[in-house]
């Protein structure tokens, strides 16, 4: 799972979700019953699906907004990008902290703080900084600040160090040039300077404030369009426009970020006019009912939710059992159980959206021709199970967290039809994480969270160590030797066509072995009565996203 809106973050609020579910029942009677997702009145593409048209640093809309109130689920405890923070904190952080590049809706890199970037050697990348970029205190951004920020983010003990694992050194080649040397060629690095975990802050302020850097009383200094004025971990954050912003003074003068414990109270606040926009909503259907209808917009992303099958335990070590399960899953019913959170059914671990960064739609389709998928087919499921070591079915425990229990119930009901009897055991999040990291992996379901444009992102769920043992987020315990080489080749190879062929091969293995059953494309949802967010795709939150707010 990667950061921000993964299930655990949502799951933290399982108490709150109980309230939200009850509230939805309570309020549906009195609330408007609008559609789960707003359709564009003209029948054209929704603003959320429209590409950002403005120049770097410029707002999409010229409308002047004196104050924009944002509702964010969860509390913002600190703004230090190297430390732990909830999803709400990350979304708020991106309003003030900027990366060097931007990823557009197609997953292509675009200039932001850097105007140019190039791969100057197998393992060397150079970034030319935009000149005249001012920090909030008026000093100019230089390559020293970028070097300091990235060195701090990749230091041992930094929460973001895993994302910088390929980096050998970061150098300030001259005032406006940053040079990154990798330990070995790594095609996935190209996207890192555009992600939320590579944002830049001022070296001088960070050195002066030491361990207090990023904490509520200290905050930080960065270059983004909105300055962090104050932060209260219990209630939220205040931001104001950075008059010296390199893209021109933003059209939104002030931003209030209010923390909400759950979707329901946030929906009521939206309905009461106390917030203007909620950039993320966990349960769109319930939220929309409580907010009065017609408020939510969901866009499918390149993240895929997965049913993880514990390969190292019987009977899951039998591929026929796994294939039977894959055939018995009716994805449409699972999508319905997500309460509007899903973007749509998905049948491969790597979303086709990820592969599109390597080839055209036609090329991707051709590459995936040999990949086995498992459409819902009870007859085929029963036939596979009949060929397995447990032809009459079996009992097993499905471990999950409270927030995922409704999905688990649907999966259990579907597998019951082929004789697999699942007992659902709900764990606390910490206990669940401990199980996922332990030797005996559980049968479980999880959302993978925001993805990176590169297909190598999916390697997170297939990682093995030098001895071939599963590590990291390889929750299924998939250890096929060929996979290790393929994943390594996928990073070493730089040619997109070759890489497409490699990842198609990875998917072929996954289709054959079924360590995971892909369920649905995860969705991002925002809610507002008055505003829309342009280019609200998989990568919306990697830039100062309020620049993409437009009036409805």
């Amino acid at each position: 799972m990667s950061e921000t809106n993964s299930v655990p973050r949502r799951g933290r609020w399982h108490l709150a979700l109980t309230l939200a579910a009850l509230a939805a029942v309570l309020l549906t009677a009195c609330a408007g019953t609008g559609p789960a997702a707003r359709k564009d009145p003209d029948g054209g593409p929704r603003p959320a699906d429209t590409a950002r048209s403005a120049d770097p640093g410029k707002p999409v809309s010229d409308q002047h907004i004196p104050r924009l109130s944002l509702g964010i689920a969860g509390q913002i405890t600190l703004v230090n990008p190297a430390e732990n923070m909830g999803a709400g904190g990350l979304y708020a952080n991106q309003l003030g902290l900027e990366p060097l590049l931007r990823i557009d809706a197609q997953g292509k890199l675009q200039p932001w703080l850097a105007t140019e970037w190039k791969r100057v050697g197998d393992k060397v990348y150079e970034y030319t900084l935009r000149q005249g970029v001012k920090f909030w205190d008026g000093t100019e951004l230089t390559s020293q600040d970028v070097k300091y920020s990235w060195d701090r983010l990749r230091a041992t003990g930094s929460r973001r160090s895993a994302y910088f694992a390929p980096v050998d050194t970061v150098e300030a080649a001259d005032t406006y040039t940053v040079r990154v040397r990798l330990k070995q060629p790594d095609a996935s690095w190209q996207y890192t300077p555009a992600m939320w975990y590579s944002v830049v802050f001022q070296k001088k302020f960070a050195e002066q404030t030491g361990t207090k850097f990023g904490q509520p009383g200290t905050l930080l200094v960065a270059t983004g369009p909105w300055k962090f004025d104050s932060l209260n971990p219990a209630t939220g954050m205040e931001l104001s426009a950075h008059a010296g912003y390199w893209g021109g003074k933003p059209r939104v003068d002030r931003i209030s970020v209010k923390s909400f414990a759950d979707d329901n109270s946030m929906a009521l606040a939206l309905r009461a006019g106390e917030i203007d926009l909620a950039p993320t909503v966990g349960g769109p259907t319930g939220f929309d009912a409580a907010a009065g209808g017609g408020t939510v917009t969901t866009v499918g992303t390149c993240a895929t939710s997965l049913l993880s099958l514990p390969l190292q335990q019987a009977p899951w070590n039998d591929v026929h059992v796994r294939r039977a399960v894959a055939h018995a899953i009716k994805r449409e019913d699972i999508v319905a159980a997500t309460q509007g959170r899903a973007g749509g059914p998905e049948s491969t671990l790597m979303s086709p959206l990820l592969l599109r960064t390597l080839g055209s739609e036609k090329e991707v389709k051709a590459a995936l021709e040999e990949v086995e998928t498992y459409p819902y087919d009870l007859k085929a499921a029963k036939a596979e199970l009949a060929r397995s070591s447990v032809p009459g079915g079996f009992r097993f425990t499905f471990k999950t967290i409270a927030a995922s229990a409704p999905i688990a119930q649907v999966i259990a009901a579907q597998l019951k039809q082929i004789g697999i009897d699942l007992e659902i055991k709900v764990l606390t999040e910490t206990a669940w994480y401990a199980e996922l990291g332990g030797q005996n992996k559980p049968l479980t379901y999880f959302e993978t969270g925001p993805c990176v444009p590169d297909p190598s992102w999916a390697a997170l769920f297939l990682s093995t160590d030098k001895t071939g043992a599963p590590v990291g987020l390889n929750f299924a315990g998939y250890t096929k030797p060929e996979m290790k080489k393929l994943l390594a080749d996928g990073l070493l190879e730089q040619d997109p066509q070759e890489r497409l062929a490699i990842y198609a091969k990875v998917l072929e293995h996954l289709g054959e072995d079924v360590p995971y059953v892909p369920l649905y494309a995860e969705g991002n949802t925002y809610a507002s009565i008055d505003y829309d967010l342009v280019e609200f795709g998989s990568f919306w939150s990697n830039m100062p996203w309020v620049l993409n707010v437009i009036p409805k």
């Binding site: 309570l26 009195c30 209630t235 606390t428």
Partner: protein, 321 residues
């Protein structure tokens, strides 16, 4: 009871508090320790991490040390009021609690006062109008309020008074006394109504029992005014069992308001405790457990002192002996 006896009682309670905190801290530490998962599991939350980061976190939180060493390391710092940093947010525990203490205390006191007003006064009125329409109406209302969980009440109040008739805000804490009062009225009401209903029934029963006592009849026979009999004899005596109950209410409102805090997104102490427990945030759990223990002991001490003020039998107990 002499002033010396009162001071002795306070002293005993404070000693008991120290012993209680010592036992509680060890018990809480042990329970969190044996619960599945560690702070590293919670901190990383199944997200990408290098082995070096895992090792650094393990050392930072002393997870590679034996259990008793871990406890001692915590205790050593706690003795000098250094409660460490939250393992989830990395902020100092005292900062995190400090940010939430004010609003939680405001809400607790506000709800407490509302509970007393909405519980005791209607309870006494119901007792005086026993078996009349008003009595039946108040008792029926109390049954409804008692049967409605505070978070359901909260959502109802939110919908009615923040959305349908927007006279109160739907969320937030407000700034300054009056603004906070306005912002916290609905949460305080949601929290108070259920408990006030309980207190109403308790006050009613207590008052009815007192009104049946011989000394009330004698007071009336002596020709004392109805007002004098009710306030000086009946109400003060009826108040004693109510004080017993209300002593622990303040602490309950302070730490047990998690459902209402969630419904109104108040970010208070109760919500923080639940979050800390879910993520095995040991320093935070320990500090909150200590805080709540202190509050409970102090609230009960206050209730006992209130007894002394209300009940002359206790006040003069020492002198007559």
């Amino acid at each position: 009871m002499s002033a010396r006896a009162i001071l002795l009682m306070i002293g005993k309670r404070l000693v008991a508090l120290v012993v209680l905190i010592a036992i509680l801290s060890f018990l809480v530490f042990s329970l969190v320790h044996i619960a599945p998962g560690t702070v590293v599991d919670a901190y990383l939350g199944g997200k990408p991490a290098t082995p070096e980061l895992v090792q650094a976190l393990t050392e930072r939180y002393h997870l590679d040390e034996p259990f008793l060493t871990q406890y001692w390391l915590w205790l050593r710092d706690a003795l000098v009021f250094d409660f460490g940093e939250s393992t989830l947010t990395t902020l100092p525990v005292t900062d995190e609690i400090g940010a939430r203490l004010g609003p939680s205390a405001f809400l607790a006191v506000y709800a407490y006062l509302l509970t007393l007003i909405l519980g005791v006064i209607p309870g006494v009125v119901a007792a005086l109008r026993q078996r009349k329409t008003l009595d039946r109406g108040l008792v029926a209302g109390a049954v409804v309020a008692l049967s409605t969980p505070p978070f359901v009440m909260g959502i109802l109040l939110l919908y009615l008074f923040a959305v349908l008739v927007p006279v109160f805000p739907a969320a937030g804490l407000g700034e300054g006394f009056l603004d906070q009062l306005w912002h916290l009225t609905l949460p305080a009401l949601a929290l108070a109504l259920c408990v006030a209903a309980f207190l109403l029934r308790h006050s009613r029963a207590s008052m009815i029992k007192v009104l049946d006592q011989d000394y009330i009849m004698f007071a009336r026979a002596r020709g004392l005014s109805r007002r004098h009999v009710l306030v000086r004899y009946a109400f003060r005596n009826a108040l004693i069992p109510v004080v017993t109950v209300s002593g622990s209410l303040l602490a309950f409102f302070f730490a047990g308001a998690v459902f209402v805090e969630t419904a109104f997104s108040l970010g208070g102490i109760g919500e923080l405790l639940v979050q800390a427990t879910e993520t095995s945030d040991m320093p935070m759990i320990q500090a909150l457990a200590m805080l709540i223990a202190v509050l409970i002991v102090l609230a009960n001490l206050l209730a006992d002192l209130a007894y002394v003020a209300i009940d002359p039998r206790i006040r003069f107990e020492g002198r007559s002996a």
